[in-house]
């Protein structure tokens, strides 16, 4: 892959990560109105979705995937894929629950133990999501994924 193509993709991925981090950290400060909170949560979830789409597009671009060795690719990247999907689920759940609790009065005190647990899980999961996503984005810059080489052929022979 050309550097000129990889550069904007990497920058977009960094931007999506940064938006997600910013919203995670400061959404409790930005609870002016219900609608504002709602929009912010929707933006955050859409960012996560875009990030998932981009990472899968990068997967589809690799030579391994195009050669038909999808399982190899998924095995290699199973941790990042798992973390991303789990975080997306946690995020959506927290936002939905938060909106239902906060609707009508954004500044209300709504903390119960269930929400608190989900909140902690989602925030810690976010950190793991940032790390694994960034690592995957950097790894997919490796040109070996996009070129034919001996080990791909060996794997193909194995899978036949």
């Amino acid at each position: 892959m050309l550097v000129s193509r990889y550069m904007p993709i990497l920058y977009i991925q960094y931007l999506l990560l940064f938006i997600d981090l910013f919203l995670n950290a400061f959404s409790s400060l930005l609870n002016f109105q219900d609608v504002v909170l709602l929009v912010l949560f929707v933006i955050q979830d859409v960012c996560i979705l875009f990030a998932v789409i981009i990472i899968f597009l990068l997967f589809f671009n690799t030579y391994i995937f195009q050669a038909g060795l999808v399982t190899i690719l998924i095995n290699k990247f199973k941790m990042p894929i798992f973390v991303v999907f789990v975080y997306f689920a946690l995020s959506v759940a927290l936002h939905v629950w938060g909106m239902t609790l906060l609707w009508g009065d954004p500044k209300a005190f709504i903390w119960n133990s269930g929400y608190h647990t989900l909140f902690v899980c989602q925030r810690v999961g976010a950190v793991f999501y940032y790390f694994f996503y960034k690592r995957t984005a950097l790894r997919l810059g490796d040109p070996r994924f996009y070129q034919d080489s001996d080990w791909i052929r060996r794997e193909f022979e194995k899978r036949r």
């Binding site: 050309l2 550097v3 990497l10 950290a25 409790s28 005190f109 490796d142 080990w151």
Partner: protein
């Protein structure tokens, strides 16, 4: 009439008249000699042929047979006539118009006799016109001779090239002396150790030694640079962005440790005065501190994960981490601190809501116990942040992620066959 020379074609030779005896002879000579340039024959012949054909009719050769001698006045002397071109003639022809008769004489016997016969045949009888035409003949002869002398230069390329220098003007030395006379009284050259570099806004002076040094450095750099140029691949670009993140994260690690330390001190001071005093003064800071701390914790934790590449854990790394040889415990410290910080979130929210909703803080014992818990949690998260920074600052150069990503080997597919990675930890 066997020795009659056949009549030449029209246009090539002029009609035979007494006035142009010499010229006709010349033309005849030229026609006979193949060496002579056809251009010249043509070029000389055509104007004359035009002029002559109108004025004088051609005369047949037969009538001229009687004449054997040539009137000297009308005819140009042989030594001045252009001789038929031969190899040996080139040198003589090129010498100039004034060739003494002695030089030409040996050549003449070869050519003269047959020519003389032909002249006798071709020469016209009219002599009256000859004196008038003599200067014209001479002029033409001179022209011819000049043009014939030009022939070797025209033909030969080297001759042409030798003429190139003709327009080179050699400057006279007297001229430079003239200029020197002008400059000497007003300006003197005083060499100093400065070089003046011309720029758009005039001249800028620069020290000679410094410039010499700069040039030497540039030369060294120029020779070195071709070895350093490498093409930018995607992985190199990716790792360069990671390096930027590393630089930012080191700063944030240190800043975070300092902020948490001061925040602990401030909380202790405020809580010393009493719970209500604390609540009244700290409620504005509670939520921003929580947000900023989460932001910093997230960045620092990701940086710690990057340093020790939690995404690729092998046995060796785990052993070293658990036995506290590698410093990977930093990642654990940050995660624990993060969990503690998040555990304080509801209480921070409660403190922030103190002015708006007094119902949350009505019970003083409940409030006191909450605040005690909160203080302990706050202290613990601060301690973890500072401890993690301490360990990072002991080994700030570690970057396993970069090392793992840079490795160009087959570990993409088969990590179990990976070689044990040497962990180089430099204490700085």
């Amino acid at each position: 009439m066997t020795d009659e020379i056949p009549l030449p074609k029209r246009g090539t030779l002029p009609p035979l008249t007494s006035t142009q005896n010499g010229e006709s002879r010349r033309n005849v000579h030229k026609k006979r000699n193949p060496r002579q340039g056809a251009e010249e024959v043509g070029s000389d012949a055509t104007p004359r042929s035009r002029s002559r054909s109108n004025s004088r009719p051609r005369q047949k050769t037969g009538s001229d047979k009687g004449q054997t001698s040539l009137p000297k006045e009308s005819v140009t002397p042989r030594n001045k006539r252009p001789q038929p071109k031969r190899d040996s003639d080139y040198t003589s022809e090129g010498d100039g118009i004034d060739i003494p008769d002695s030089q030409r004489k040996p050549k003449k016997p070869r050519n003269s006799q047959p020519r003389s016969q032909s002249k006798e045949v071709l020469i016209s009888e009219s002599d009256t016109v000859s004196p008038k035409s003599a200067p014209a003949k001479k002029k033409k002869k001179k022209k011819k001779q000049v043009s014939s002398m030009d022939e070797p230069e025209v033909i030969g390329l080297e001759a042409e090239l030798s003429g190139i220098d003709d327009d080179v003007v050699v400057t006279d030395e007297t001229q430079s002396s003239m200029e020197a006379k002008w400059t000497v009284p007003t300006m003197r050259s005083e060499p100093i150790n400065k070089v003046f570099i011309e720029q758009k806004s005039g001249f800028k002076s620069a020290d000679k030694a410094k410039i010499a040094k700069k040039r030497a450095e540039e030369m060294i750099r120029a020779t070195q640079i071709p070895m350093e140029t490498t093409s930018m691949t995607t992985i190199k670009f990716a790792l360069s962005t990671h390096k930027v993140f590393k630089v930012i994260s080191v700063f944030l690690n240190g800043l975070f440790a300092g902020i948490t330390l001061w925040q602990i001190i401030a909380v202790y001071m405020l809580l010393n005065e009493g719970d209500i005093h604390f609540l009244e003064n700290y409620h504005m800071l509670a939520q921003p501190v929580q947000s900023i701390f989460y932001f910093l914790f997230a960045v620092c934790t990701v940086a710690a994960f990057d340093r020790y590449d939690i995404g690729r854990i092998d046995r060796r790394f785990l052993l070293r981490a658990v036995t506290l040889q590698s410093g990977a415990i930093v990642a654990l410290f940050y995660v624990i601190g993060l969990i503690f910080s998040l555990a304080m979130a509801p209480d921070d929210n409660r403190i922030a809501l103190y002015p708006d909703d007094h119902s949350l803080w009505e019970d003083p014992e409940d409030a006191a116990s909450r605040l005690r818990t909160w203080k302990i949690l706050n202290t613990v998260r601060g301690v973890f942040a500072v401890l993690a920074w301490l360990i990072i600052s002991l080994r700030p150069v570690t970057d396993r992620l970069t090392k793992n990503l840079e490795k160009a080997d087959e570990n993409i597919i088969e990590p179990q066959y990976a070689d044990p990675e040497p962990e180089i930890e430099i204490i700085r």
